[in-house]
Symmetry: C2
Subunit: 192 residues, 2 copies
Amino acid sequence: MKKLMSFKAGDLIYMSGQNGPAYKVVSGTIRLSQTNRNHQALFANLAIAGDLLGAEVLLRKPYTFEVYALTDCEISVWQEPTMLWAEALAEELIKSSLRQTEVVSLRCGTAMERVLRFINLVKPSNQNLAHGNLTLPPLKETAEITDLTIETVSRCINSLRKQGILIPVQGARGNLRNQFTFSDQSLISLAA
Amino acid sequence: MKKLMSFKAGDLIYMSGQNGPAYKVVSGTIRLSQTNRNHQALFANLAIAGDLLGAEVLLRKPYTFEVYALTDCEISVWQEPTMLWAEALAEELIKSSLRQTEVVSLRCGTAMERVLRFINLVKPSNQNLAHGNLTLPPLKETAEITDLTIETVSRCINSLRKQGILIPVQGARGNLRNQFTFSDQSLISLAA
DNA sequence: CGGCTTCTTGAAAAGTATCAAATATAGTGG
DNA sequence: CCACTATATTTGATACTTTTCAAGAAGCCG
């Protein structure tokens, strides 16, 4: 059994330039950023369950990106097979290039289309059920990833709420921030 | 000496599902698309000089993307080293994940910022000179890549022309389409 | 020289960003 | 458990950018 490491939304997982192992994402959503000359963290990519993180260390390079948990998440150290490890690595990397195609599509079309695509990417996909729980990252993150403003993202999500597509989760003292249940398949069809 | 294959702007290089070798881009700009269920070619990624194309065939998979020449370009069959080929492949794939970060940045900011970033990506970079030739793809392509409309891209490019940053190349019967010289470093500074 | 495609330009409409302020949620210490 | 505070989200009004639609011009090709 591989040891799981858990992170809370917003936690730093590792920094650019450091050394460490490569990881596999078990659950949750993870953000990869690159810090530019002005010390701004530019969004570069996402990783979700099944994706490999920090593969560059296997080629004796330090980590390329800053990596943060967007939502609560679990990762495990990637145990590369002793035989043919590079082949296994290449396979993972090709998979990750497909992920990045999805990320590019998060910048296409209207605000609502982008937000819907993002929700579908973040939403736990193991269940093709008509019902499920959904934890979104802070609006600031969603806004950077979709290249929208916080206000626009907020308006989109509230519109989905008013349509009954997203239902806020109740806590002891009001709604829980960015936690929803989605009531039907409208999400999937809307984002197509 | 490796054999070069030349393609003209707009040529199909290979199609998704086919089999063939992996290639290395020698010059020019190449577009990778994915055809969706509605038979639309969705822009997925770019490849420029130094990038690997179709690496998935080395893992005995058919080509994943449709690949077109955006500008005239040259590619050569990638001769993977017999020893440690998978390691070399992994190295190339990591490089390509950095390219995709640039592609994401082509969807950020104002129309003019996006077009400038695209021009800088397409512009032959081997020369850090203050002067050079530039072949842009048809507006339709530039528009899809930057997620703008053809009209908006046209307005940006013409604005750069009026500012004297891009200068059309003269042919026998008027200007050549999408061919320019750029007169100074303004491009680089503007896109930063 | 046509005929066709691509590019250009203008005016109006739509969509988002911006700015400012109010409200909601989460965290902390009594 | 409650009050208090800091942070995040929501909402409205306005300004700005980009899209849309419709011609017209320019470049390309046989």
